[in-house]
Point group: C2
């Protein structure tokens, strides 16, 4: 097999597939990776992604909205729908709460404008590629959308001789979002400016905009909360404008720039980012930006159809966090204040999800954006007094548990990012651990959160313990011995919640007694549960910094492995009247559709049975990720669901997201090149890898046999080669001695 | 353990669950099985079920419609939605095409009637139990719906002092359905009659109705295609009426009866089925009818949460086919003709799905309805000249492949149903096999359907071959030796499509060459594919009548088993630009979400490795059925998805749906009693059954060791006991000798 040819068909054990396709693979230069991305993955099921145009980590996400309310429309769009209500400029990628969808634009013609009906469309008339979305509506209007970082570019082609019209609906809102103050001004016959202020998941959100048309407005109809008003300006809770243009076959173009800070910021964005009217050029340039991002990992796979899944996952890993500052460096911060940053300020930090694998992925693939992400988190800290938990448009939404900005900062610091800000970042981390809200006071008083004092007591305790371990590592690095000892001790707070009889982490009351009754299959959605969005089966494994310590609590590796096996083998039935909808993607009680499960399959490596990790992660990749709108098994969660796949397909995963180690699994790639620095490449190969040869036989790092079952960030970033040799049967000697195990805080007992 | 106590917690291998709940189980008499049903299962995901009120196999399915179009709204309702457009009287349970939703009723008050807006609702304000659906709309109107077989009973409680109003919208339609002629007549101040004729999936569908209010109409507004008309009668493509009532706190009651034959039929239904105004009594009686059906199988499970899944599956198995004749015995047959039946005529025969397990389940549990089902199929034959393929409201929809009324009739005849009609039914079966449409002419000419002559050529060939095997068996029973030999020969038509090199059933052209290129992962939706709604992986196993013959083609049991293993182990990725959305519920390429996969997990028994069947069917039951709106892995398909679970949970499955054998799997029950005749019970027990003890160690039939890995219908129906002894490790001796294998047409080579 020469380098320019790939064997593109699956090797079937016991079957000779005579007719499968051998094809010459194009070189990376010829074959655009952007063409392999399917943005529709996750728009069905409960993935909650959107198909529209967005630049890598861009501010504008210009995408269709169905105008339907409901959980599955958190991104504005769900593949099951058949109506489009408009194309708005901001969208969330895979969240479980709906917000944004600001500045909704809809094309109409004839007299249909004021009656803003939703239009039918069909998926046969719809395409999506990185940076370009197109659809032909049932009324024959052809829509094409592209974007730069801060500007959405619309191209509408109307049926011949129709009176072109555009509706701009600032009252349009989905789910939790509600406009509170909006304004539209027709500044001149091609320029419209204004803003939309809303409340919702983000308590206060401002979107200023500047929109320019390629043709002069002939007539406008402005509406104030549904009532027509005269003039060229309307301010209202819900302002709407309809703009009419001369008939003609030339497509109507529209550029809409947004800024959270000011109309002037939006105008400047427009001027800098899309000065001309060349739609195709912007789309081409957008695709090229994506191509640059995707080329950071060049990979080929066991099965050719996997490349779409992989590159779509890489794409979805790179859409959030979203750029927040305008080209002037300004954004609207906390308390209605315009702030300026000398870095790119980002927003949308879904930290409970993304600290696990998305942020570690950025430490490898986004060295240039990393300082901006860190500085953005620090800005939140400076503005709000605490590092964010779930930051959205400058607001703390207080969604989910933990103080997981801490592992993100710690991981970055320990990997060498922003050493000059280490002290400042450390103080911010300590502030999170010292707050008196979110049950942390109970946690400090009792050494765990009593189940009768606070909700999600088990989840919070385990997560705080891990976060505190991160603080300890930074303290150590900064030579703060006292703090190191203190947080190291706190990192053991998971221990009192382990029940050696049931082998689960259980709710414990303030008096030291277990919360009764206990049912490991029980789930209770809402803030009264013991475990957030899950059961004891899913939550009891969260000790990523001290898996050995957890094994010690089990009493033996055998019992640990048996319980791990059970997690995948017991029934997927849950008990309770109000089971969390987030528990999905089930294999037994393992729930890949939600984040608490994401590290679990890798834990076998810590008990000397890495072949069980290998079988499980291949099963998860094969069954729970697909090139299909329903192709995600749960919420995408701003990149985390996809980042899991990117890491796992490459053959490793950051079980402890902040210790700089990557635990080896079973690669789905046959070959991969990760660009780790400008001229450095980390090459992965998997010899004999196939659908059946899922078991690691041998591993070579830089040509030498690797006996441990993990690699380090330093090894990866210095470039080199990692070679797996795969086979159909487990190698039950590799990775089995305690010296081979990934590191833990505790010693093996 | 005494009989009145059940050990209600899962036994965890290697873990002592000290605190799980021991509870006293009520006796069947105390504890209504109807309370265990969750009609919402399958209303999310792509299950396509509805939550409304229906009697077992009833004509009326009174259920909410969201008023949303799209695939996931085939039943009118999808759990993701948040709006209700009305409550209509006919719904399909789990189909992949939307139709029906006839006679839509919506309550309003104040001046809101004419502007028929959809109302918001929340699932917190919604309940569904067998025969009763309730919801409180956002506008505070409380809705309760129940039904008898042919009458829907509505109870609307309005906010104090509001002007009560009811809209009756005959223009309301979803998906393929389109009204063509509708009429509303206000006969007197409490009686409304009329009809709705529509076209759609069912080419012509008539629904006559009679509606009576509990209070006199004070005022009516009638609309003809949206325009108000004076008087008391309106006929139009889309007739709508709004009826106003006096304010008052008394709930407004409404009974709506339907008939496909006539208004008089509807009036008679009303008179016979709900003569009084006692809503609660009708609801109670409806629940009792369901209780009677559910009590036919009394079961307890390895995990207590499974009972809801099981009884909901039994419930969903018993909603279709739907009663079609009114109390006068009349229904509207083909060509606009009112026909009379001296039996209960049923409709909604989704035969491609239900011939597999739903109809076999009815041969056990519905002895009284079986003759009616058979006579209904024969009526279709008499009216249309051919047995139906997919019958809907008296129409042949020509949906899907095969002539699968044949296995349903054959199975029934061979099990002893309607012996007096055997000859007539046999002639109907032969007519299906002798037709010249649906590619059967090619099939007869070439011995298979050439891929270059007709679509779905592989699926059709394999399915016709099986259907022909069924004809052969009936011919044999009736002493028709020549026919027996002829159809026996045709039953081997699967053989030319087996490619011994790839081990797949492949498209073959008329010239005898394989269709190229071949990719077993390729799927093409629409009528040009080689396999309907699936890939070669899923379709190549369909030789249920001659699994041994298929093994012979493989050349060895080992190759057969390896390929079967691969089906579950290869990637779930599909190739092709237009992959069928029906391929879901994936374990490798096994797709439990669609019917072609349903028998595959049981095939290991035919190759002497029953423990692999045991592990797979437990995995499928555990992972792909849940007590959750998303709890089905694909379309319910009128009972088939649920019937698979009912059989499998009991420990066996009709791999060949017409040979009277049930192949043993791994029961999910610990105990079950199947009422097989009035005073006969077939008792199943599974000793040591648990989440880990999934492997069959021994089987006893009527106390004697059973060495074969199947039981027969005769054994089941004579009553007796089937005892499984379960354990954590496979018993690799039981069921391994060829004498133990389930029967096949061919001998072992």
């Amino acid at each position: 097999m020469t380098k320019s040819y790939f064997f593109r068909c699956v090797l079937l054990l016991g079957a000779l597939v005579s007719s499968c396709v051998f094809r010459k693979a194009a070189s990376p230069q010829e074959q655009a990776l952007a063409n392999k991305v399917n943005p529709f993955i996750g728009t069905g099921g409960h993935g909650h992604t959107y198909p529209g145009a967005v630049m890598p980590f861009g501010m504008v996400q210009l995408s269709p909205d169905n105008g339907t309310q409901g959980w599955d429309w958190c991104s504005g769009y769900h593949y099951s729908d058949s109506l489009i209500a408009g194309f708005s400029h901001t969208h969330l990628s895979g969240t479980g709460i709906g917000d944004l969808c600001d500045i909704s634009v809809m094309p109409y013609y004839a007299g249909a404008v004021e009656k803003k009906a939703r239009q039918k469309f069909s998926h046969q008339q719809e395409t999506a590629t990185p940076g370009l979305y197109t659809v032909t509506l049932e009324n024959k209007i052809k829509v094409a959308l592209t974007a730069t970082e801060r500007v959405g570019f619309h191209q509408y082609t109307f049926p011949k001789d129709s009176v072109k019209a555009i509706s701009l609906d600032l009252g349009f809102a989905i789910n939790w979002d509600k406009p509170t103050e909006t304004k539209i001004t027709l500044v001149n016959d091609t320029l419209v400016t204004g803003y939309r202020k809303s409340t919702g998941w983000a308590n206060q959100q401002w979107v200023y905009f500047a929109a320019v048309f390629s043709e002069p407005v002939q007539k406008q109809v402005l509406k104030r909360n549904g009532q027509s008003v005269a003039g060229k300006e309307v301010a209202a809770e819900k302002a709407l404008a309809a703009f009419y243009f001369a008939p003609g076959e030339k497509p109507l173009l529209l550029k809409v720039s947004i800024s959270s800070a000011s109309v002037d910021g939006a105008l400047q964005n427009l001027k800098v980012e899309i000065p001309a009217w060349d739609f195709q050029r912007v789309a081409t340039s957008g695709k090229a930006k994506w191509e640059g991002e995707l080329q950071k990992i060049q990979a080929s796979f066991v099965h050719p159809a996997m490349d779409t899944v992989f590159y779509s996952a890489l794409y979805h890993s790179f859409v959030a966090p979203s750029l927040f500052s305008d080209v002037k460096g300004q954004y609207k911060g906390h308390r209605d204040t315009v702030r300026t940053a000398n870095f790119n300020r980002y927003t949308v930090f879904s930290l409970w999800d993304t600290f696990r694998a998305a942020h570690p992925l950025y430490t490898i693939t986004q060295p240039n954006r990393m300082p901006d992400f860190l500085n953005s988190l620090m800005r939140s800290y400076q503005e709000l007094g605490l590092l964010p938990v779930w930051e959205l448009s400058g607001n703390e939404t207080n969604t989910m548990t933990g103080y997981h900005a801490v592992p993100v900062l710690a991981d970055a610091l320990l990997k060498g990012y922003l050493p000059e800000k280490a002290e400042e970042m450390y103080q911010a981390m300590v502030a999170s651990a010292s707050q008196n809200i979110r049950g942390t006071d109970f946690y400090r008083t009792y050494g765990y959160i009593p189940a009768d004092k606070d909700g999600f007591s088990v989840t919070k305790t385990l997560e705080y313990a891990f976060d505190d371990w991160c603080i300890a590592q930074v303290a150590k690095k900064l030579g703060k011995q006292t703090d190191y000892q203190k947080y190291r001790q706190r990192a053991l707070s998971y221990q009192p919640l382990f029940d050696a009889k049931t082998l689960f982490m259980r709710g414990k009351n303030a008096d030291g007694h277990w919360k009764e009754p206990f049912d490991p299959f029980y789930s209770e959605h809402g803030d009264k549960g013991t475990y957030i969005e899950g059961t004891a089966w899913q939550h009891s494994w969260f000790v990523p910094h001290d898996v050995q310590g957890l094994i010690n609590l089990f009493g033996s590796e055998q019992r640990f492995v048996q319980h791990l096996d059970s997690t995948f083998n017991v029934t997927s039935q849950m008990t309770g009247e109000n089971v969390s909808p987030d528990i999905s993607g089930l294999i037994g009680q393992y729930a890949h559709g939600n984040e608490p499960s994401h590290h679990i399959a890798y834990l076998y490596n810590y008990a000397g049975q890495p072949w069980k990790t290998q079988a499980r992660v291949r099963q998860i990749m094969d069954q729970l990720y697909r090139n299909h709108p329903d192709g995600l098994s749960g919420n995408e969660d701003c990149g985390q669901m996809s980042a899991w796949y990117v890491f796992s397909a490459l053959g490793f995963y950051p079980v402890n997201p902040s210790d700089g180690n990557y635990v080896l699994g079973s690669p789905l790639v046959t070959q991969a090149r990760i660009q780790v620095e400008k001229n450095k490449v980390f090459e992965i190969s998997a010899e004999n890898n196939s659908a059946q040869n899922i078991y690691v036989q041998q591993v070579f790092l830089d040509g030498k046999p690797l006996t441990r079952s993990y690699i380090t960030h330093a090894e990866l970033m210095q470039g080199g080669t990692l070679k797996f040799v795969m086979g159909p049967q487990p190698n039950k000697t590799w990775g089995t001695s305690p010296q081979a195990y990934p590191p833990s805080m505790s010693e093996k007992k």
